[in-house]
Symmetry: C2
Subunit: 244 residues, 2 copies
């Protein structure tokens, strides 16, 4: 896992065990049992509430629709992500911060591997759930992009860079998530996501984002093919150092 | 516009004017007139066919659902994109190729600015259309990713890199597309997308992708803060050159 001191943590107020009432848990468990046994389309809300032993109104108190019971934790996770980004120190590296924010999503999946793997197979089979999932992914990406807009918006092409970085981070995260789901939740989710996000950070994170008004670090980069005579490389460095 | 010789062109068989029958055009025109006048939800397929002066069955011959009439050209564009990628020479720069493939989408929008701008405002208002659009964007991204999987899959982390590059290229494209739509189709769409894709290429395109079996170019990169004593930089280069 990341050794960052900015490691995302859930606020006490959104601790899963503390806020999730047993009825909600029972509805999710009943729904998934029926989805796996009978199929998603063949299961009605009435079937779910009958198995959970609660009334129809209880279902709709917790979930706006049947689709929402398939993804019961995304709203909480999205709220956690936004809170984590909002709490970022002003001098936080923005690329690292959005990578750490993305880790919250993988952690949610990894909290319950069996459920996550079941849902992965269900979502692949049901086009409506696939569409739902795409809209969820899009909301995560917008949350990351909005934070980056605020951080990078003041520099030339900042909005473009923010959009591209947010999409790249989400794609890296999802690549790791899919690998982990395909391993049936057996691989190390944290290691997979660290590796994937490490790539995104290596691509975008090396570009220092100067705080407003600061002078960027003055670094000269020289690339030379191995075997180039040393005097030729030295002359190039001298020229680069001398340039204004 | 790009000066690439690999500039994407539509095959003769998919030329828009040649294959699109007048009934299809009439249905799209009638649908949009009603969507703008009455609203999307308030318009039925019966209203559309009545205005277009055709039967209900004609509608469903061209469009599986009411949503599809809002995006009448994406299937054709997606097919063009896949054909363009499949026709790529083996030694094509893969990042450049997916950027050129993405240009096909913007070109489709730019062919009919008024229609594209109307649809942009409609899509923002109707959640169902927004979801439909997300699934279309996802299919474009998968087409780019699949081409990149085939090109980069053989190298370490090739699938990860492919997924991240595809997402970044789509995000850059969409950033340019949104800017152009917000200008009500008045800005230069080609210049906007060239600028945005230029950023994606600068981020990913500098990494040379060796053809399979080839020896990668042997380049040494040294970064030094301006003001570092020259002897120290030279020593670092000597060490790098000597390394196996």
């Amino acid at each position: 896992m990341s050794t960052s001191s900015a490691e995302p943590r859930r606020g006490a107020g959104t601790d899963a065990a503390a806020v999730r009432p047993p009825i909600r848990e029972a509805l999710v468990a009943a729904a998934f049992r029926l989805f796996v046994e009978r199929g998603y389309e063949e299961t009605t809300v009435d079937d779910i509430v009958a198995l959970a032993g609660v009334g129809r109104r209880s279902f709709f108190r917790y979930f706006p629709s049947k689709e929402d019971v398939v993804f019961p934790d995304h709203e909480r996770c999205l709220a956690d992500m936004k809170a984590f980004l909002a709490a970022a120190p002003e001098d936080a590296d923005p690329v690292r911060r959005v990578c750490d924010a993305a880790r919250l999503v993988l952690r949610m999946y990894a909290e319950n591997p069996e459920f996550s793997v079941q849902r992965y197979h269900l979502t692949k089979k049901v086009p409506g759930l696939r569409a739902y999932e795409l809209s969820v992914v899009w909301r995560y990406e917008r949350a990351l992009a909005e934070y980056l807009h605020a951080r990078l918006g003041g520099r030339p092409d900042g909005i473009l860079h923010a959009d591209v970085i947010a999409a790249a981070v989400v794609a890296a995260h999802n690549n790791a998530l899919r690998s982990w789901l395909r391993s049936r939740g057996r691989d190390d989710a944290g290691a997979a996501v660290d590796h994937a996000l490490g790539y995104a950070q290596s691509v975008f994170g090396d570009v220092p984002v100067p705080p407003r008004g600061a002078v960027p670090e003055d670094v000269v980069v020289v690339a030379a093919r191995r075997g180039t005579p040393l005097w030729q490389v030295v002359r190039e460095i001298e020229t680069a150092f001398a340039r204004d």
